[in-house]
C-alpha cells in the first residue's frame, strides 16, 4: 500500500485530504505545518508521495522541499497553493525540478488530486 504524506497548516484541509485518500485505498501520514513535516521526513518512515502546501507560517512549503532535498528523499511531490500567483515561487520550484504541472490550486477537486497522485505513482 502506498503511503502519502499530507502537509498543510490548516488541520481541516489535512483532514479532508486524509479522509479522501484513505477512502481511495492509500495510507496517509499527516503533518499540520512545516515543522511536523520535516520531523517526519527526518525519521525513517516510508513515504511514497508528499502533498505539500506552499504558504505556511514558520516553515514554508519551499523550506520543506529544500530539507527533503538535503535528506536525499526522492519521493514524488504534489504542491498545493491557495494563490494563483505562484510566479514568486516558480524559480525556486524550478530549481528543485518542479514544473507548473506539479502544482494544484486550491480549492482542489479531490478527484483531480487523485488523478495526479495516480499519475505520479504510476498506477492505473
Amino acid at each position: 500500500m502506498y503511503k502519502i504524506l499530507v502537509v498543510d497548516d490548516e488541520p481541516q484541509i489535512v483532514r479532508v485530504m486524509q479522509g479522501f485518500l484513505i477512502k481511495m485505498g492509500f495510507e496517509v501520514a499527516e503533518a499540520t505545518g512545516g515543522e511536523e513535516a520535516i520531523e517526519l521526513l527526518r525519521s525513517d518512515i516510508k513515504i511514497d508521495l508528499m502533498i505539500v502546501d506552499l504558504k505556511m507560517p514558520k516553515i514554508s512549503g519551499i523550506e520543506v522541499l529544500s530539507e527533503m532535498n538535503k535528506l536525499n528523499r526522492k519521493q514524488p511531490t504534489i504542491i498545493l497553493t491557495g494563490s494563483i500567483d505562484t510566479s514568486k515561487y516558480l524559480k525556486e520550484l524550478k530549481d528543485f525540478g518542479y514544473t507548473i504541472k506539479d502544482i494544484l490550486y486550491k480549492p482542489v477537486d479531490l478527484f483531480a488530486l487523485l488523478d495526479l497522485v495516480k499519475n505520479k505513482l504510476q498506477i492505473a
Partner: protein
Amino acid sequence: MAKELDEKIKFLQGRINKLEGKLLERKQTEGALRESESRLYTVLETIQEGITLSDETGHFYIYNSAMEKLTGYSREEANTCPDFIKVLYPDPQDQQRALQGIKELLERGTCREVEMRILTKDGQLKCILIWSSLALYKGRKIFLSAYRDITEHKEMEKRERLAQLGELVADMAHEVNNPLMIISGNAQISLMEEIQNENVKENLKIIFDECRKAKDIIQRLLKFSRPSRGELREIDINKSIEAVVGIVGHQFELSSIEIIRDYTKDLPIISVDEQQLAEVFMNLLNNSKEAMPKGGVITISTSLAGNFLKIDFKDTGCGMENEVMGRIFEPFFTTKEKGTGLGLSVCCGIIRAHNGELKFKSELHKGTIATILLPLRKDG
C-alpha cells in the same frame, strides 16, 4: 567783462559736469535695470514651473515658456481665446475651485495650493498643482501663479495604490481558498457515502458546484486586480470578454439584465493589454446596465470585419440623444448623477492605444450599440 565771462563759463562748466554726472547715474541705473530685467527673464524662462501674472479679467501680463509648454497655448492664444479658463479647466468642479481660489486671494492675499486638471491644446489631460498669491502692480491687484505638472506623480501614486490593492486581493484570495477547499472537499467526501435521501445528495452537489464557481470568480478577480504593466499578451477575445462577464454576470442577473453571448468561434488570436481591455468591457457593460434601470438585454457579439476584430455590446436601454452622443468622449462630460465623466474618454484612449476604434450607434428609447474594432496582427 572777462571776469564775468569766466564766471559764466565756470558756472556752465559746473552745470555740464552735474548733467554729465546725472547722465552717468542714469546710464548706470538703466544698465542695472536692464541687468535686473535680464535676470528676471532668465529666471522666468528657465524655471520648470509655469508662471503667470494675470488680472481679474484673465489677461496675462506674464505667461512663461514653461506655461506654454505645459498648456500648449501661447500667451497670445491665452489672451485672445474667449473663456480661456473654461477651455483650460474643462471640469466644472475645477472651474468652481478656480473661482473659489480667486475669492480667497482677494480676501486674504494668499490661497491654498489647489490641484486641478487641465486639458492641453493637443487634447491631453494633465494634473497640475497651482500656487497663487496676490501682488500689487501699478496700484492694481493682480495674481501671481505657479503651475507644476504632477501628472506623472499622480500616475505613479495610482499604480502603487493598485499594486497594493492587488496584493490585498491576492492575500484575501489565499485566505478564502482554504475554507472553500474545506467546504468543497467535505461535500465531495460526503457524496461518496451511501446517501438515501436524493435531496441531501442534490444539496451536496450544489455546495460543490458553487464552490467551483467561487473559485472561478476569485481567479478572475485576481487577474484584474493586478495593475496593468502595459504588456501586450496574445489572447482569445471571447475568453477575455467571458472573464469580465463572469465577474459582473451575477449582479446583472439581480438587476434583471440578461446577457446574450453571440461569439464567433475560432477568431484569430490578437495581442492586447488584457487588463486595460477588461476595463473597457467593464465600462461598456456598466453603461448599458445604467441605461436599463428596469432591466433588459445585452447582446455581446464578436466577429471578423476585414482586418479587424469586431466586438459589439448592444443594449435595449434608453439610448442617447444626438447632443449627448456628440459629447460622450469629452473628458468630464457626464449624464450620471455621480459620474466622473472620464469612463468613455479613458476607454477611447485605451482602444486608440491599440490602434483600434470605439464607436457608438444609438436610438432614443431603443438602445445603444457600442462597437470596438481591434486590428489583427499583420502576420495573421
